[in-house]
């Protein structure tokens, strides 16, 4: 039997603006213990509103939500002991050193000070050598990684991240990915919202596609690509009169067959180098899905 640590059912939230903004319209999502779930969706889909309700900072108009056995609506403090939140912008005090920030946040989180564990994380995030410098001397990406490192150093079973790769360079994204993938063994539950499809696909056990304030689909990234994405063939071949390798991408539809493609190249006297079938990338599939369904 599946054990859910996060359960949200039919959440509704309308911001009391003029005119009112319907942010959540029947948002339902469940996350199992130890699962990593990525929330995908266009801007204004309701991702951040859901995260704020989950954190107990915002109250829904209707619906139910629990984290473990506590409700963030009725017992936000109990929920806060189980969750560490890493926002999309660096949140640590830039006038302080990383060690000072760590000490402060552990006191705020009411956790026993664990310098050894913090040190291990800082080594893994390649931040230890500069941990005694004020964060104002760090790059934005380093500050973001520092925040994530402290959240991971805590003992909270759930990590919530909003756009964890925002502002990170390619190396920073890869390092973050490596470290978060390693946490899978620790049984930590991770829920994150991101526009970085590569990151989502690599990290998430399951993706939740969100639009217009509700969850449209939840599945693995691969199943989502397979269900809604088109299959295509990557073709690389060389013609006798030309030195260059020719690349083509062909959609796999009713009229396509490998044999016909092979015959076409052979008739031209060409040499086939590669013929590989693949699915459309997640960003293309999500983009098409949202366009077709007018989101």
């Amino acid at each position: 039997m599946k054990q859910y640590i996060i359960k949200a059912n039919d959440l509704q939230k309308t911001y009391p603006t003029k005119p009112p903004v319907k942010a959540l319209q029947g948002f339902s999502l469940s996350v199992e213990h130890g699962e990593i779930v990525g929330i995908l969706g266009p801007n204004g889909a309701g991702k951040t509103t859901f995260i704020r309700i989950l954190l107990g900072i915002l109250l829904p108009d209707a619906g139910e939500i629990t984290v473990g056995d506590a409700s963030p609506i009725a017992s936000p403090k109990k929920v806060a002991r189980q969750i560490r939140f890493v926002p999309e912008l660096p949140f640590l005090n830039s006038n302080w050193t990383l060690w000072q920030n760590a000490r402060y946040w552990f006191s705020v989180w009411e956790e026993a000070w664990a310098p050894g564990k913090v040190k291990d994380l800082l080594i893994r995030f390649r931040l230890i050598e500069r941990a005694d410098e004020p964060l104002s001397r760090y790059s934005r990406g380093m500050q973001q990684r520092a925040g994530l490192a402290l959240a991971l150093a805590s003992t909270a079973p759930v990590i919530i991240m909003d756009e964890p790769t925002l502002g990170l360079d390619v190396l920073g994204v890869q390092e973050t990915l490596d470290i978060l993938e390693n946490t899978k063994d620790q049984g930590r539950t991770i829920l994150f919202a991101s526009h970085d499809m590569h990151f989502v696909e690599k990290l998430a056990d399951r993706v939740a596609l969100v639009a217009k304030g509700r969850v449209l689909e939840t599945s693995t990234a691969y199943d989502f690509r397979k269900k809604y994405g088109q299959e295509y063939v990557t073709l690389r071949y060389k013609l006798p009169a030309q030195n260059e390798i020719i690349s083509e991408q062909l959609p796999v539809d009713a009229s396509y067959s490998d044999e016909r493609t092979w015959n076409r190249i052979t008739k031209m006297g060409g040499t086939l180098i590669e013929l590989r079938r693949d699915l459309q990338s997640l960003d293309m599939v999500v983009g098409h899905y949202l366009q077709q369904n007018a989101y």
Partner: protein
């Protein structure tokens, strides 16, 4: 761990590390002296005007002390609170902690102490210029009331900053509170309760310790602790409903 304990511990870390940061930044030279200049420039303007009008400059010191100990936590915290709550990711990470709103209270308390340390230079400069008369017991009683008013001032500033979209402008208006303090009467008993710093000003001006202004002022302080806390909780409930300064 109790909320109070967490708030006190985290606030102490916040204050200590902020102080270390100021000391470190002082390595860059005399820029550190700029900190109290904002409050001191208001004082100097009033000082110059009082001298030109032939007034008693000694009367300016205690209102300036009150201004620093009460109005500054209120005005500065209003501004910081507004900046914090309009930045939802920053406020969220602080509110999503076991002590929630008290984490922010501790943080603003740390900010206030840090700014007060900075303003101490300004108060010292003002004291050197006007050489005020200090009456031992009454002076201590007046300062005691003012120190007790810091927490409700911060709570009010937090509430204004999280609720009102014009909080930034309001904080600038509050920074001009020195002029209001100067003209308020200091011998009206009901005002000692409504605005306990007027009781402090009355105590500072008198050599003999009278119990009435202290007691009235103390009752006022207790009331402000209750009222400010209630206002803060109400503002936070509004914020949680989506009616705060972060509304779209």
């Amino acid at each position: 761990m109790s909320t109070l304990k967490t708030t006190v511990i985290s606030s102490s870390f916040y204050f200590y590390y902020s102080l270390l940061a100021i000391v470190r930044q002082a390595q860059y030279g005399i820029q550190i002296l700029v900190m109290p200049l904002l409050a001191l420039s208001v004082f100097m303007a009033v000082y110059a005007a009082t001298r030109m009008m032939g007034g008693n400059v000694k009367d300016l010191f205690y209102p300036f002390l009150v201004y620093n100990l009460i109005n500054f936590p209120l005005g500065a915290v209003t501004q910081i609170s507004f900046g914090t709550f309009t930045n939802t990711s920053y406020s969220s990470v602080l509110l999503a902690t076991p002590t929630s709103i008290n984490t922010l209270l501790g943080r603003f308390l740390g900010d206030s102490w840090t700014s007060l340390i900075g303003n101490l230079f300004g108060i010292l400069v003002a004291a050197i210029i006007v050489k005020p008369t200090f009456h031992g017991p009454t002076g201590v009683a007046g300062i005691f009331l003012l120190l007790l008013l810091i927490v409700p001032s911060i709570q009010l500033g937090m509430a204004i900053g999280m609720k009102f979209i014009f909080a930034h402008q309001l904080s600038q208006f509050i920074l001009l509170g020195f002029f209001v303090i100067l003209v308020l009467p200091t011998n009206v008993p009901w005002l000692w309760i409504a605005l306990p710093f007027t009781a402090s000003l009355h105590l500072f001006a008198n050599a003999s310790l009278s119990l009435a202004p202290f007691l009235y002022g103390f009752i006022g302080v207790i009331l402000w602790w209750i009222v400010a806390k209630a206002i803060l909780l109400r503002a936070y409930n509004h914020y949680r409903s989506g009616k705060g300064v972060d509304r779209r």
